[in-house]
C-alpha cells in the first residue's frame, strides 16, 4: 500500500519551496507522535522473518528496513493557524539480491505473514529482473555490526512540545512582524522523526532515532501606491536537532556585515521575524544594483545552496555515470577528471568534505540505509577533485573497496539509493572575520540567505540571488540593494575563491526537501561553510519594467 499526499500551501513565500511538500502516512493526534512504536526485540524478530525467507528462496543478500516515520507540520499566517498536520507511516521494506540482481518490495502489514509475502515478492521481482540485467550487482564488503543503536543527540524532542506552545511562538513572531511594518507574514514549523530499524543477512541489527526541525517565515512589505512588494524570508537553517534549536542563545548569534544578525545552532524566530519586517520595508526603497563585475562576500546560509548545487550534485556518482540522465541530468565532473588527479575543481583554498556524521546536520546518522557505518571523506582537497559520493553497489566502478555510507530512502516503501551526504567547505585556517573581509573589498556585494537559484543539467552554468543584498564600497557596507544575481561557471567560480573566514564564522545551511530520482524521493542535507569571498564575479541586474 502506498499513501502519499502533498500539501500545496500559499503560506510559504515564493522561493522557499520549489515543489509541493510531501506528506507521508496517515493523520494522527499530536499525542500519538510520542507513542513508543514497536519494541526493538519485536523488530528484530520481524526483520529475521524477512532475512530467513529471503535466504530460503535463494537470495545471496537481503536487508530489511522497518520504519516509523513521524511528521508534524504547522502553518500560520498573520493571526491565524492555517493548518496543523501530524502523520505517521509504518511499514517494512525488503531488498534482496537473487541471481545477481536487486529486488524490492514493501508492506505496511508488519506481521510474519505480511513480511513473508513481501519478501517472496521481492525475490520474484529480482528473479524476473535478472533476465534483462546486463551487469551483476557487486557489493562492497561491509561487516555486520551486531545489535547497535544511535539517536540524534537532541536536548528536547520537538514532538514532545505541545502544538499550542509552537503555535504561540509562531503567532508571536507574526504579531511582532506586523507591528514592525510587515503587510503580511507567514510562518511554519516542520518537525520530523524517523525511527528506523535496519537488519541485513550480514549480521547487522541497527536501531536509529533521527530528528530534524525547520522553522520558516516570510515577511511581505507592500507599497500600495507604487504597487511594489518585497519578500524577506527567514534566516533559519533546517537542522538535525530537537526543539532546542528554537531556544534563542546570544552566544549562537553571529553579527554579519550590514547589521544583519545570523544564527548558528540556536535560532531566534521572533527576533528574525522583526528583522524580516524591517528589512522587507527597507527593500522597498533600496536602489537597484548596477550590473558588472563584483567581488562577492557570500554568507553561509547563502553559499550553502551554491555548494549544494555546484559541488554536492555533480559529485554524485550515479549522475556521473548517467543513471539520472533523463531527470536531473549528468555531470561535468566526469571519471577522467577524477582519474587525472589534477582537475582543479577550485583553487588551493578550496577543500570540500563529505560527512555523514557532522553534529547537528540534517544528514547525520551512525549507519546509512544499507547498514554501512557512516564517515567523513574528502571530495576536493587543495582544490583537486579526489572522490565522489558512492554506495555499496557503486564503489567498484571507481576502483574503491569501501562504501562511502550515503545510501538513503525517504521511507520504508521506497527503495534506498545513493543520496547526497552533507557536503561542506572547510573553514579558513587563519583568524579572519566577516568584518575583516568587508574591509578588504573595494567593489563588492554581500549576499545573505537563499534566493533564486538555477543550474544547468551538467552543473556548469549557474545563477544565484540572495534573501538580502548589500553593496560594499571601499571596505564599507554602503547599504541594501535590489535586483542582484550572480552568474558563473562552477570551475571558474571555485577558482575565483579569494578568502575564507575562520571556524568562528562556520555554520550550516540546509535543504529539507531535496528531490532526486524517478519516481522522485526527498532527502534532507546540510552544507557547512564560513563566509567566503570570490573575486570578479559577473552580477546581473534582474530588475525589469513591465
Amino acid at each position: 500500500m502506498k499513501r502519499r499526499n502533498f500539501i500545496h500551501t500559499a503560506a510559504l513565500g515564493a522561493g522557499i519551496l520549489a515543489a509541493p511538500i510531501p506528506i507521508f502516512g496517515k493523520n494522527i493526534f499530536s499525542a500519538e507522535l510520542l507513542n513508543p512504536g514497536m519494541d526493538v526485540a519485536t523488530k528484530k524478530a520481524m526483520a529475521d522473518v524477512a532475512l530467513n525467507t529471503a535466504r530460503s528462496l535463494g537470495s545471496t543478500y537481503a536487508d530489511a528496513r522497518i520504519g516509523r516515520y513521524l511528521n508534524q507540520y504547522i502553518f500560520t499566517r498573520e493571526k491565524m493557524v492555517q493548518n496543523t498536520v501530524n502523520t505517521e507511516s509504518f511499514g517494512i521494506g525488503i531488498r534482496v539480491i537473487c541471481n545477481g540482481t536487486w529486488g524490492f518490495a514493501s508492506t505496511n502489514d508488519v506481521t510474519p505473514d505480511g513480511i513473508k509475502k513481501a519478501t517472496e515478492l521481492a525475490v520474484s521481482v529480482a528473479k524476473a529482473n535478472s533476465k534483462i540485467q546486463t551487469e551483476e550487482v557487486i557489493l562492497a564488503p561491509e561487516k555486520g555490526h551486531g545489535e547497535v543503536s544511535w539517536k540524534t543527540p537532541i536536548l528536547k524532542s520537538s514532538m514532545s512540545v505541545p502544538v499550542s506552545e509552537k503555535v504561540e511562538l509562531l503567532l508571536e513572531a507574526n504579531a511582532r512582524a506586523l507591528e514592525n511594518g510587515a503587510t503580511y507574514i507567514s510562518s511554519a514549523l516542520f518537525s520530523v522523526n524517523e525511527q528506523k530499524y535496519f537488519a541485513s543477512t550480514e549480521g547487522s541489527y541497527i536501531d536509529q532515532d533521527i530528528h530534524r526541525i525547520w522553522p520558516t517565515l516570510n515577511a511581505t512589505a507592500i507599497d500600495k501606491a507604487s504597487g511594489k512588494f518585497k519578500n524577506r524570508q527567514g534566516l533559519a537553517a533546517p537542522m538535525g536537532m530537537g526543539y532546542e534549536y528554537l531556544m534563542p542563545d546570544k552566544s549562537e548569534e553571529i553579527k554579519g556585515a550590514g547589521d544583519v544578525v545570523l544564527y548558528r545552532n540556536r535560532y531566534d524566530l521572533v527576533a528574525d521575524a522583526i528583522a524580516a519586517a524591517k528589512q522587507a520595508k527597507e527593500m522597498l526603497i533600496a536602489p537597484s544594483i548596477e550590473a558588472g563585475k563584483y567581488d562577492l562576500v557570500l554568507e553561509p546560509n547563502h553559499l550553502g545552496l551554491t555548494i549544494h548545487e555546484s559541488v554536492g550534485h555533480p559529485l554524485e556518482l550515479d549522475r556521473v555515470l548517467g543513471y539520472e540522465a533523463n531527470y536531473a541530468g549528468t555531470s561535468f565532473a566526469t571519471l577522467d577528471k577524477l582519474q587525472s588527479g589534477t582537475f582543479n575543481y577550485g583553487n588551493e583554498l578550496v577543500n570540500f568534505v563529505a560527512d555523514k556524521t557532522q553534529e547537528n546536520s540534517l544528514g547525520a546518522v551512525a549507519y546509512d540505509d544499507e547498514g554501512v557505518k557512516c564517515k567523513k571523506w574528502d571530495l576536493v582537497r587543495d582544490g583537486i577533485l579526489v572522490n565522489y559520493q558512492a554506495i555499496r553497489d557503486q564503489v567498484h566502478m571507481i576502483d574503491q573497496k569501501e562504501s562511502h555510507g550515503c545510501c538513503y530512502s525517504q521511507s520504508w516503501n521506497d527503495v534506498q539509493f545513493q543520496r547526497m551526504p552533507n557536503v561542506s567547505l572547510e573553514a579558513g585556517k587563519e583568524k579572519y572575520s566577516v568584518q575583516d573581509m568587508v574591509k578588504d573589498v573595494e567593489k563588492g556585494i554581500y549576499l545573505v540567505g537563499r534566493g533564486s537559484y538555477s543550474i544547468d543539467q551538467q552543473r556548469y552554468n549557474f545563477q544565484f540571488g540572495g534573501t538580502l543584498s548589500y553593496e560594499i564600497k571601499d571596505g564599507e557596507v554602503k547599504g541594501m540593494v535590489n535586483d542582484a544575481a550572480y552568474q558563473s561557471n562552477t570551475q571558474e567560480f571555485w577558482n575565483s575563491c579569494a578568502k575564507i573566514c575562520d571556524k568562528d564564522d562556520y555554520r550550516m545551511f540546509g535543504s529539507f526537501f531535496d528531490g532526486k530520482g524517478q519516481p522522485s524521493q526527498v532527502s534532507a542535507v546540510s552544507h557547512g561553510c564560513s563566509t567566503t569571498r570570490f573575486n570578479g564575479v559577473n552580477v546581473l541586474n534582474t530588475g525589469r519594467n513591465i
Binding site: 500500500m1 502506498k2 499513501r3 502519499r4 499526499n5 500559499a10 515564493a14 520549489a18 496517515k26 493523520n27 493526534f29 491565524m80 493557524v81 492555517q82 496543523t84 529482473n129 534483462i132 540485467q133 503555535v167 503587510t183 503580511y184 511581505t220 507592500i222 500600495k224 501606491a225 507604487s226 504597487g227 511594489k228 512588494f229 519578500n231 555515470l321 548517467g322 543513471y323 539520472e324 540522465a325 533523463n326 531527470y327 541530468g329 549528468t330 561535468f332 527503495v415 533564486s452 538555477s454 544547468d456 543539467q457 551538467q458 552543473r459 556548469y460 552554468n461 545563477q463 540571488g465 552568474q487 561557471n489 524517478q518 546581473l540 534582474t542 530588475g543 525589469r544 519594467n545 513591465i546
Partner: protein, 438 residues
C-alpha cells in the same frame, strides 16, 4: 481492491456519513493503481506497480475543523475515522476561513477514463523501454527514460447532500538520448489520457534525431534573439504565469496581477492581442475532472482574451470576502494557436533559435514574473528559413509577460503536460549567458 465504481464509492461514503454527529462532514474517497518503468545506460533500472486507496474525512463543529484518513472501509474502520476527525475538530482552534460544505451540484460527465490505459501491463512498459533502448543502441546512443501510468478514481460526499465521482487514466513519458561521445543530447515527452495515442518508437526517434543533430554545437554570443519555442519549452514559463491568475494574492498586493494603488488587473490588456487562453475540462484532447477537490463544478472559463485578463481564480472564502462568485483554479490551459507547423515557422525565420525545452526554471522576481533557466537537449540556429547548426545551450532571464508582448507568430497546438499550447515565435528573447552543458 483500490478502484471502486460509482455505486460502490457511494455506498462506502454513505456508510461513513452515518457515523457522523458533527455539524458538517465531508468525505473524499480515492483509489489508484499506478505502474512505472525507468531505464538508463540502455538498460532497465527499476520498475514497479503501486496501488492505494484512501479516505479523508473532514468533520466540523462551527469553524473548528478536523481531518482524519484511513485506508480500510469496514464499518469499524469507518466509524473510527469519522470519530477521530470529530475529536481532532473539537481540539482544533477555529479556522476563520472555513467554508461550510457545498450542497448538491451538477457536473458534466468527464472524458478522463480510457479502458486501454487502465489495462497497461508490465509487458507493455517493458516494450516502451525497448522501443527507446533498441534504436538507441543501433545509433551509438545511450537512452534514459521514464514511463508511468495511472488508473484511478476520485469521489466525494458530504452531509449537505453533495456527491461527485470521477474515473481517470493517464500516462507520461520522457526520454533523453545522449550520443556516446557526449556531444549530443535530445529529448522528447508525451502525455495522454488514452495510451492508444502514444507511439514510444516515434517519440524515441525524435529524441534520437535531436541528439544526432545537436552534436558538436557551436557557441554564439548571448543576447536578444528571435526564438521558436516548442510547447515543451514555453510551458514552464506559461505555467508560472497561469499560477499568477489568483485573485487573492493580486488583491493583497503581492502578485504580478496586483495594480498600482490597489486592486487587480482584471480587464487590463497585459500582452499581445493575439494571446487568448481558456480552460475546459470537456476538451477532448486534454480532458480533466469536472469538479474540484471541494466539490466546485469545473466549466469552461476564459482567462485571457485578446491579451486582456478576463478572469482570476477566487476560492470560496475569497469570493465571499469580495462578494463575487467563486472561480475554481483550472486543471488545464488551452492557448489558442495558429495554422503554422514547426516547419512553416522555421521557413519564415531569417535569423533565430529553435528551443526544444527549458530546464531548471526558477523565479527571480515575483513583481515582474521574471524567471531564469536554461535551454537543454536540442538548441539550433536558424538562418534564412533553415536549421543551420546546433548551438550551445543558453541561460535565459525572461518574463512570460514580456515574452507574450513580443509575439511574432502562433503555430499549431500540441498537448503538453495536460495542456494545449501552440508553437510560438517570439522576438527579443533574452539569453544572458552560455552554458557548456550538453
Amino acid at each position: 481492491m483500490s478502484i471502486y465504481n460509482k455505486d460502490e464509492a457511494k455506498e462506502i461514503m454513505s456508510r461513513a456519513l452515518k457515523f457522523s454527529s458533527a455539524d458538517s462532514c465531508e468525505i473524499n474517497l480515492s483509489g489508484n493503481i499506478s505502474g512505472n518503468i525507468r531505464y538508463a545506460r540502455n538498460t532497465v533500472s527499476t520498475a514497479g506497480v503501486n496501488s492505494n486507496q484512501n479516505m479523508a474525512v473532514q468533520a466540523s463543529f462551527g469553524k473548528k475543523v478536523g481531518t482524519a484518513t484511513i485506508d480500510e472501509f469496514d464499518d469499524a474502520s469507518l466509524e473510527k475515522v469519522v470519530k477521530r476527525a470529530e475529536e481532532l475538530a473539537r481540539l482544533s482552534p477555529e479556522s476563520p476561513e472555513f467554508m461550510p460544505p457545498l450542497g448538491p451540484q451538477k457536473y458534466e460527465e468527464s472524458k478522463t477514463f480510457i479502458q486501454k490505459t487502465a489495462d497497461i501491463s508490465p509487458d507493455f512498459r517493458a516494450e516502451v523501454a525497448a522501443a527507446s533502448i533498441n534504436p538507441a543502441s543501433k545509433n551509438d546512443i545511450t537512452a534514459a527514460g521514464f514511463f508511468d501510468d495511472s488508473n484511478g478514481f476520485n469521489s466525494m460526499m458530504n452531509s449537505n447532500g453533495l456527491f461527485a465521482y470521477n474515473r481517470d487514466t493517464a500516462m507520461n513519458f520522457t526520454v533523453t538520448m545522449r550520443t556516446n561521445d557526449g556531444t549530443g543530447s535530445g529529448w522528447s515527452t508525451r502525455d495522454y489520457n488514452d495510451v492508444s495515442m502514444f507511439d514510444a518508437a516515434e517519440a524515441s526517434q525524435i529524441a534520437i534525431e535531436k541528439a544526432l543533430q545537436s552534436k558538436e554545437a557551436k557557441a554564439i554570443e548571448p543576447g536578444k534573439y528571435t526564438v521558436i519555442l516548442e510547447p515543451a519549452a514555453s510551458i514552464g514559463l506559461l505555467q508560472n504565469m497561469f499560477f499568477a491568475f489568483n485573485a487573492r494574492s493580486a488583491d493583497e498586493g503581492r502578485s504580478f496581477m496586483s495594480k498600482e494603488g490597489g486592486g487587480n488587473k482584471l480587464g487590463e490588456k497585459i500582452v499581445d492581442e493575439r494571446i487568448s487562453f481558456y480552460s475546459d475540462p470537456m476538451n477532448s484532447i486534454v480532458p480533466s475532472s469536472t469538479w474540484t477537490g471541494d466539490g466546485m463544478p469545473r466549466k469552461k472559463i476564459v482567462w485571457m482574451e485578446n491579451g486582456v485578463v478576463k478572469n482570476l481564480a477566487y476560492n470560496r472564502y475569497w469570493a465571499e470576502q469580495k462578494g463575487v462568485e467563486p472561480v475554481p483554479f483550472p486543471s488545464n490551459a488551452i492557448m489558442e494557436g495558429g495554422d503554422a507547423s514547426l516547419e512553416d515557422l522555421i521557413k519564415d525565420t531569417k535569423k533565430g533559435i529553435l528551443v526544444t525545452r527549458f530546464w531548471y526554471i526558477r523565479g527571480v522576481d515575483p513583481q515582474t514574473l521574471l524567471y531564469t533557466g536554461l535551454t537543454r537537449d536540442g538548441t539550433f540556429y536558424i538562418e534564412n528559413g533553415k536549421i543551420k547548426h546546433p548551438i550551445k545551450n543558453f541561460r535565459f532571464n525572461e518574463s512570460p509577460i514580456i515574452m507574450l508582448n513580443n509575439l511574432e507568430t502562433l503555430g499549431k497546438q500540441v498537448r503538453i503536460d495536460g495542456n494545449l499550447i501552440p508553437y510560438m515565435k517570439i522576438r527579443d528573447f533574452t539569453f544572458s549567458s552560455l552554458s557548456d552543458a550538453v
